[in-house]
């Protein structure tokens, strides 16, 4: 009996001790989903970047404000010459890297020019290929020289991968993670635990949290269990996981505009889709709100009019496209199909919802006489043997900024132009937008490009899916916005 009492006392003592320790030290716990299977790299431009950690340890030159527009971070101001080919960037002074060295224009030069290194095979290289070189004007000023005009440079510098690293650190950055961000790496093990500690001299003020601990948990149900058991403070969710947390007072669920989407791609170079009227007839009869409701549920997405641009992008066009079955029938009749049309759509069970998306489209299209034959292709080799090969197939994209996606997937001849869309007027609008320094003017052009895609493009995009996350109640300072909007030095844990 005595032994039992002693054991109980020791155990309760241990519990109180850890509780007291937790109160003294604010430890924020997250999971990393190991989506790169342990190859997660601290190099921000790596194709397998450890994105959850990189957001916390590095800074960008330019970040987005809550509306998605460029705002100063390490750059305090930016101006360009009249032709948008030379950009002068003024830098924040007094900023130091985690190793104590000062941040200056030489680091900007090194970081931006390193992206082009072909040996690194960075996915960012093609996005920023128009940066010719960076000149160091003085330690607090850098000049970015472009090979062709680009008025949207500040927007591209906002990319979550364009993060500043110390000059000459390329060989070691993948494991050291030395940046200027609010947290610094204490230990790094993407398959086990990665521990970050507060950077007390962070230039925007010392972080409120003391530590951030990442645990590798690849299984999404296991992450939920960990969340339930109080082992995590922050976790992303899938749609079917909402009910587990929604009405639980210990948690809050956030739903934020993100921008991933499924689409149905009709190859514009293949009959019958060479006819723009048929392409439009395929897209306009669908009740997009209804389709989104069936796919992700009301409020878990944002409907759109075949726009690949994410919902909260400042350049997204405010289009409206209510279901128009009569218009679709009329277009089909004009194009020579008064009795309706038989088409074949390929899909695969690659991602949850990718087959259902095709099925819902099939039902919606049936009401105007578009008879869809669904073909389920094997998941293995889908991107290789089916996508961009068959006349009509389901596609899936993650969010990209307007300029990037409109060029990457629709410009004549670009590598991922999945609908083989070729329209020189469209290409010229994009060129002109890149040369337009006035923000409102550029916005008008990007919106015009989206309008063209709705009128005659080959890709049907009914909605963009929202992101979902769950937080424990004590988490403060995280707005319902995408992860790269979060200001981590302001995040706090305040027990209730």
């Amino acid at each position: 009996m005595l032994r039992f009492v002693i054991a109980a006392a020791v155990i309760s003592g241990a519990v109180t001790f850890t509780a007291a320790e937790a109160a003294a030290e604010k430890v924020f716990r997250r999971a990393n989903d190991l989506s790169y299977g342990g190859k997660e790299s601290l190099d921000p431009i790596s194709a397998t970047r450890f994105y959850e950690v990189n957001d916390m340890v590095y800074s960008r030159l330019v970040r987005q404000d809550d509306n998605g527009e460029p705002a100063p971070e390490l750059a305090t101001a930016w101006t360009s010459n009249d032709t948008a080919t030379e950009w002068t960037i003024a830098l924040q002074s007094g900023v130091t890297f985690h190793d104590g060295s000062a941040f200056d224009a030489a680091d900007v030069k090194y970081t931006l020019e390193r992206i082009k290194d072909p040996a690194l095979e960075s996915p960012l290289a093609s996005v920023l290929d128009f940066i010719e070189r960076v000149d160091v004007v003085d330690p607090a000023t850098a000049k970015i020289v472009l090979s062709k005009p680009h008025a949207g440079l500040p927007l591209l510098l906002m990319d979550y991968r364009v993060r500043m690293i110390p000059e000459g650190s390329g060989a070691s950055i993948a494991t050291t993670g030395i940046g200027t961000g609010p947290f610094k790496i204490e230990s790094y093990d993407p398959e086990g635990q990665t521990v970050l500690v507060a950077n007390e001299v962070y230039w925007e003020g010392s972080p409120k949290l003391d530590k951030v601990v990442f645990t590798a948990i690849p299984d999404s149900e296991a992450r939920n269990q960990a969340m339930m058991a109080g082992q995590l403070n922050f976790n992303t969710l899938t749609l079917d996981q909402i009910p587990q947390f929604k009405d639980n007072p210990a948690f809050s669920v956030q739903n934020y505009p993100a921008g991933g989407w499924f689409g149905l791609v009709f190859r514009t170079d293949t009959a019958p889709y060479t006819d723009a009227r048929i392409r439009k007839a395929m897209r306009i009869p669908v009740d997009r709100a209804e389709m989104m409701k069936l796919m992700v549920g009301e409020g878990n997405g944002v409907t759109g009019c075949d726009q690949p641009v994410k919902a909260n992008d400042p350049f997204r066009a405010p289009l409206d496209c209510p279901p128009d079955p009569e218009g679709a029938k009329k277009l089909l009749a004009e194009a020579g199909y008064p009795e309706g049309i038989d088409i074949e759509v390929h899909t695969a069970d690659l991602e949850p919802g990718m087959v259902r998306f095709a099925e819902v489209y099939q039902q919606q299209a049936a009401k105007v006489g578009i008879r869809v034959k669904l073909t389920l292709a094997p998941s293995d080799g889908y991107w290789d043997d089916v996508w961009m090969k068959v006349p009509a197939a389901i596609t899936s994209w993650s969010a990209r900024p307007a300029d990037q996606i409109l060029n990457e997937a629709y410009r004549t001849g670009s590598a991922w132009n999945e609908s083989y869309y070729a329209n020189s007027a469209y290409d010229q609008i994009l060129d002109k937008a890149r040369a337009t320094l006035d923000f409102a003017g550029a916005r008008a052009l990007y919106q015009e490009a989206q309008r063209i895609l709705f009128e005659e493009g080959g890709t049907f995009i009914p909605y963009q899916q929202n992101g979902l996350r769950v937080l424990t109640r004590d988490v403060q300072g995280i707005k319902p916005l995408d992860e790269d909007y979060i200001r981590w030095h302001l995040v706090d844990l305040i027990p209730k």
Binding site: G192, Q193, Q225, A226, M228, D380, D384, D385
Partner: protein
């Protein structure tokens, strides 16, 4: 006796060769190859060609099989496509962790099952037997992911006695791993114990009805001595082969249990490898599971031979 063991070992070896052929052929018949599976959308043109050249996929299948099998005999399991590391390096620690988990599960499950089985068998159809057998039936029919989730909900979320999922890395020290393995091992041992308990119970009942027990009774041997000297040792002999068979189930079970508990073992690695479409790693793990199964069965066969003289005289 020795001849019998040699013959068993030879047939195990044959099974292993067959397994390696099946594992290799299974992936061979899938559409695409290791490179298209892994690269997905990027698997085009020069990137795909480079990958195929690096993995040696341009050689004919028979040549690749002999190459692969030869490497395995030298202890080389190839290179993981996703992790870009030698597979032996990746698999080593996880194999240890899975063995720790299985060992803890066996240490909890087997003594419990044997004890409960003996008592239930001796008190056949009485209240204890009905309760124990009923519980065993329930434990056998609940899928592991349900019992795992329930245990986490009760002991981690509700009572707060244990941590929910495992948060230590795969290279954690052995003692930490053992304590992390406790809750997952409980889940595994539930089904394990239920199977073995039912077997022990049936076996005890059989032996109690046998002639030599009747003889002992007639000679006036005390009841305790009959049970512990005659009934229990004889009824445990068939159980040894059941333990071997349960290993097969255990290997399937660890895949689910390790995923639910985020336990860094071979089972979770198998799921990750499939998710990453890392075919060389999937192949290696499938082979390892096969080897474990065959070796365990061989060992239980030999153990049964050593412990049961009657089997030794049986020759076809």
């Amino acid at each position: 006796m020795l001849g019998l063991i040699v013959r068993r070992a030879a047939s195990s070896l044959f099974t292993l060769i067959l397994i390696s052929v099946v594992v290799f052929a299974g992936l061979e018949f899938m559409p695409g190859d290791a490179c298209t599976a892994h690269l997905g959308r990027d698997g085009k043109g020069a990137v795909l060609e480079a990958c195929r050249a690096r993995m040696g996929l341009d050689a004919p299948p028979v040549k690749r099989f002999t190459q692969w099998a030869g490497d395995i005999l030298r202890g080389e399991l190839g290179t993981s496509m996703q992790r870009e590391k030698p597979i032996t390096e990746i698999v080593g620690w996880r194999l240890r962790n899975t063995l720790v988990l299985s060992a803890v599960a066996a240490l909890i499950g087997i003594p419990l099952a044997v004890l409960l089985g003996i008592i239930a068998g001796l008190r056949r159809d009485r209240l204890f037997d009905m309760a124990a057998s009923g519980t065993a039936l329930v434990a056998m029919t609940i899928p592991e992911f349900v019992s795992a989730t329930l245990l986490i909900l009760v002991f981690a979320v509700g009572l707060g006695w244990t941590a929910g999922v495992v948060t230590i890395g795969y290279k954690a020290p052995l003692l930490e791993m053992v304590s992390a393995a406790f809750l997952p091992a409980v889940v595994l041992s539930m089904v394990l114990a239920a199977h073995i308990m039912r077997m022990v119970r049936a076996s005890v009942i059989d032996v109690l009805k046998s002639d030599f027990v009747l003889m002992a009774r007639l000679k006036g041997v005390p009841q305790q001595q009959i049970i512990w000297r005659h009934v229990v040792p004889n009824s445990l002999l068939p159980v040894i082969s059941v333990i071997g068979l349960t290993v097969a189930w255990l290997l399937g079970g660890v895949v689910i249990v390790e995923s639910v508990f985020n336990y860094p073992g071979l089972g979770r690695l198998a799921v990750d490898a499939v998710g990453d479409r890392d075919l060389p790693l999937v192949q290696a793990i499938a082979l390892l599971f096969g080897i474990t199964y065959v070796v365990t069965n061989l060992m239980t066969d030999i153990a049964a031979l050593l412990l049961n003289p009657r089997l030794r005289t049986y020759r076809a």
